[in-house]
């Protein structure tokens, strides 16, 4: 029988994979994809709690509305972020984060 803990465990592992990607990879597009993985890991635990807190046979839909908002904001974020990456590539001809150090102290 699959329980709430299994979903939370899978969600936590997905978050850790995304986090490892952000820490390890140096290509800014891959870092961006790993950020998406982390956002979606959070969504999975929200939906699991929504199902777990079902009252009178109806899931708690507040969490699902929250997930809907997160997906919308994430989509807007991807569009803006990729536009910034294109502008950056036009200026510097690179997507490698170690080549972009103008703001480094």
């Amino acid at each position: 029988m699959v329980s709430l803990g299994d979903y939370l465990m899978v969600s936590g592992l997905l978050f850790a994979i995304g986090f490892a990607g952000v820490m390890l990879r140096r290509n800014i597009i891959i870092i961006f994809m790993c950020l998406e993985l982390m956002l979606n890991a959070a969504n999975l635990s929200l939906v699991a709690f929504s199902r777990f807190r079902a009252e009178a046979g109806v899931p708690d839909y507040n969490a699902q509305v929250f997930v809907f908002f997160i997906i919308t904001v994430a989509a807007a974020e991807v569009a803006v972020g990729l536009a910034i990456i294109v502008a950056l590539y036009r200026a510097r001809q690179t997507t490698h984060v170690e080549d972009i150090t103008s703001l480094k102290f």
């Binding site: 939906v47 809907f68 997906i71």
Partner: protein, 167 residues
Amino acid sequence: MPAFLFWFFAILMLAFGAAVVVNRNPVASALSLVVSFLGLAALFMSLDAYFIGIIQILVYAGAVMVLFLFIIMLLDLRAEKLRKINWPASAGGIAVALALAVQICYVVGNFRFARHPFPPLARSTIDDVHNVGSLLFENYNLPFQIIGVLVLVATIGVVVLSKRELK
């Protein structure tokens, strides 16, 4: 959903999520991300959140992935050349990620409700599009409109950023 299907989709999602991190070729990473999100959508549907699952497929596997692939093709990114790996930084990154995973597993393992079964639903099929929609337009009307403004701002911002010279 039977337990073996849950584990099948969970392992599919985690394996292709790891492939996103491991692949050197950005196109292969993007395609692994699609498979990972399809597994995640299946998990949403196993939690009876059909609306969220379908939105996940439409928005991520459809729109976001096309955007990623489009940018990768536009910038003509090849597989990365092997650079000198900064071993202390990489080891630190892996250590921090592993510590995070271990800590999450520990917290979930000690969570009081972790082994409780999910409560049964009233009917086998639920009209969750209707329920999410009415909650969205009644209780969350103002946030919904703010999100609309946010998407508009993002659209204008992308157009401004994509102009040839920034002034």
